[in-house]
């Protein structure tokens, strides 16, 4: 029997908090099995080894916020068979995409004494706006079990089993009483993609949208409920849609209605 070379994995980071690539290292029980199955050819957070492509699979965390990043992601795309984006930054732009709703120069002045030293783009954008992406894994942060599922699927050339339904389904599966119906707590669950496991309602708070919009979300109806029955003001509703996935089209469009 001939032994085949292990598939080569690269992990790259753009503008982000590091949390999604840390999720791979947080797979404590599975990490050594992963490193048995793939060769980690580039993963700066974990290794000094700096090997060039080509890669079989690349995981990308973070959004594109500088001209350098925009160039780098093109090079990475050319060097890999499959490119998977992980986390809200990579799939929608992340929290730093709040700059997309304002003039970034105003932000520069607030934070930096010498804005002229800084090189930044006007917007923070998802990877898929720059290159073709083979799969987008949502979450802020991603769910590590979903990460393992996606990696496994790509290594075995099958479709990842990642649901696109609403967070509400996870509450039902878990037996969590609906916080919005029972307690009048505003919850983005009805328009947010499942994936975290239904954490917030089980913790007695409303979902705040870490996994971004579900497939065909009815954001308008939910916003009406926040404004009507829950008596929220427009600013509060707008901010609810403007967090880690503010730049995801469905959330972006809804938030723009509440200026």
């Amino acid at each position: 029997m001939t032994t085949r070379a292990k598939p080569r994995l690269g992990v790259f980071k753009f503008s982000s908090c590091d949390g999604c690539q840390l999720s791979l290292l947080d797979c404590e029980l599975e990490l050594l099995a992963v490193t048995d199955a793939v060769e980690i050819a580039y993963f700066l957070e974990a290794t000094r080894k700096d090997m060039k492509g080509p890669f079989d699979v690349v995981l990308v965390e973070g959004s594109i916020t500088t001209p350098h990043e925009a160039e780098l992601i093109r090079q990475i795309r050319k060097s890999t068979k499959a490119l998977i984006t992980i986390g809200a930054c990579a799939t929608s732009g992340g929290i730093q995409a709040l700059r997309n709703f304002t003039d970034v120069n105003g932000f520069l002045d607030i934070v930096y004494a010498r804005p002229d030293y800084i090189e930044t783009l006007e917007t923070a954008t998802p990877i898929a706006e720059h290159v073709a992406v083979d799969f987008e894994l949502r979450g802020c942060p991603i769910n590590k079990h979903q990460l393992l599922e996606v990696l496994n699927a790509f290594l075995n050339k099958r479709k990842p089993n990642i649901p696109h339904y609403a967070e509400c389904i996870e509450c039902k599966q878990r037996g969590t009483v609906c916080v919005m119906v029972a307690k009048g707590i505003a919850c983005l669950g009805p328009v947010t993609q499942a994936g975290c496991g239904g954490l917030c309602p089980a913790t007695h708070r409303g979902c705040f949208g870490c996994f971004g919009p579900m497939e065909t979300p009815n954001t308008g109806a939910l916003a009406d409920r926040f404004l009507g029955e829950l008596k929220q003001d427009k600013g509060t509703v707008q901010r609810a849609f403007r967090s880690f996935n503010a730049n995801a089209p469905a959330f972006r469009e809804e938030s723009l209605k509440h200026d």
């Binding site: 590091d18 999720s23 700066l44 957070e45 930096y112 975290c196 917030c200 509060t236 901010r239 967090s243």
Partner: protein, 431 residues
């Protein structure tokens, strides 16, 4: 004439994106730059206009490695602004969560990021090839930290969902907390083994006369509250922090550098600082382990920070076990905040050093101004000073070995560069 340039464009095994540039001419160091090219993310700007209740979930996203530091700092600042004092059981639960973050972050750094340097390996995967059991044990220790975070933090360790201004959204049940006890007992033994292991490493012989700055608390090894204290006599409350410390936008490295006023002096935050300032507050078991590993009450060799981190893992495992054993469910999960216009300060010991927050909110509870000073910003000047000394002492090394030694010296600080609230892109001046 010899002209040597040591360059690392992208530092490995640090959290976030950093780089290093050293220029030596005729055996004289001309330039040392520890650069940060993590792109700015403008947290302090977009926090303006957000509700004080939203801030902890947003600041968590500054760093995926130490989200608790950013949540707790902002929560305490808001509570400080609104005059909320949380009861003892809530305080204990917060410390328990923080212990989890320390265990997770320190175990990650000690075993996966820093130990490979001392063993001449590229990474922990190489280490697993020669000693799989050791790496498995390290991963279990790290997991116990994450398990603590999940138990207190509402089900996930990265960006936990359960922390709020006033307390917790839901307090864990007694059974949930007591379930952690057997693992914590194992973790204490594993921590002793860790101290013995890393205490036996070879350390480059370098000492620095640091100004150490850390939190100090009258009853405990300070983690989540205390006064800001230095080994040179400073002892202040949080509102005075900005009278004594500031940051500057330095052209030569293009990064905000923390300094102590007056005279823009560098200072050192993190394990060595905490250890020196709070040695007397260490658990007796942690103190005797430190002695066995050859540590005095002050450690000035930055390469020995790995041993101090190991001692701190033991300290927080002991703390966490005591809290878990005594845990009683609080009467109420949180105190309801009453909004008013105010200014508040918060500061906690992130695994890599003090992390300072200041917020001004209006009478609707919306943020008017935010200031966050992460630990790695504060250490930057000191890291460059260390590099200067490390390069001077190691001129005889080959470029490749000197480069590695410099990387190791940076990793001494476990720099968390992704705290890009206001770190800048590095631009190298070409000559």
């Amino acid at each position: 004439m010899t002209n040597r340039v040591i360059k690392v464009d992208a530092l490995a095994r640090v959290e976030g994106e950093g780089s290093l540039y050293v220029r030596v001419k005729d055996k004289e160091i001309k330039e040392v730059r520890f650069g940060i090219f993590e792109p700015p993310r403008f947290f302090e700007a977009f926090l303006q206009g957000r509700s004080f209740m939203e801030v902890p979930d947003i600041t968590a996203r500054i760093c995926g490695i130490c989200p608790i530091a950013y949540q707790m700092g902002s929560i305490q600042a808001m509570e400080n602004a609104l005059g909320i004092q949380v009861p003892a059981p809530i305080r204990d639960l917060r410390r328990l969560a923080y212990c989890g973050e320390w265990i997770e972050s320190h175990a990650l750094h000690v075993y996966m990021l820093h130990a490979p340097d001392f063993l001449g390996l590229a990474d922990a995967i190489q280490l697993a090839k020669s000693n799989r059991d050791l790496v498995q044990k390290a991963l279990r220790l790290k997991k116990i930290g994450n398990d603590l975070l999940e138990a207190v933090g509402g089900g996930r360790a990265i960006h936990p969902v359960n922390m709020r201004v006033g307390g917790f959204y839901r307090t864990p049940t007694k059974a949930e907390i007591q379930a952690l006890i057997p693992d914590l007992e194992w973790a204490i033994q594993a921590s002793h083994d860790t101290i013995r292991l890393v205490g036996g490493f070879d350390f480059p012989d370098i000492e620095q006369n640091y100004t150490f700055v850390a939190l100090r608390h009258e009853r405990e090894y300070a983690i989540h509250e205390g006064r800001v204290v230095s080994n040179r006599g400073l002892d202040i409350d949080l509102p005075q922090f900005l009278d004594h410390f500031d940051e500057e936008h330095v052209k030569h490295s293009n990064a905000l550098h923390g300094f102590q006023k007056p005279g823009k002096q560098p200072y050192h935050v993190g394990p060595l600082a905490r250890f020196a300032i709070n040695y007397d507050k260490l658990h007796p078991e942690a103190q005797s382990s430190a002695k066995e590993a050859g540590l005095g009450s002050v450690v000035r060799n930055p390469f020995k920070s790995i041993v101090v981190r190991a001692v701190e893992i033991l300290q927080v495992c002991l703390d966490a076990l005591a809290i878990a054993k005594n845990y009683q469910e609080p009467a109420r999960p949180y105190t309801e905040p009453v909004v008013k216009a105010a200014v508040g300060h918060g500061c906690t010991e992130a695994p890599r050093g003090i992390c300072f927050h200041r917020y001004e909110i209006d009478d609707q509870g919306l943020v008017k101004a935010a200031r966050i000073i992460p630990p790695t910003a504060q250490n930057q000047k000191q890291i460059e000073n260390d590099l200067f000394k490390v390069v001077s002492a190691n001129m005889a090394l080959s470029d490749e070995d000197l480069k590695w030694r410099c990387e190791q010296a940076i990793r001494n600080y476990d720099p968390c560069i992704s705290c890009a609230t206001h770190f800048l892109k590095l631009t190298v001046d070409r000559e």
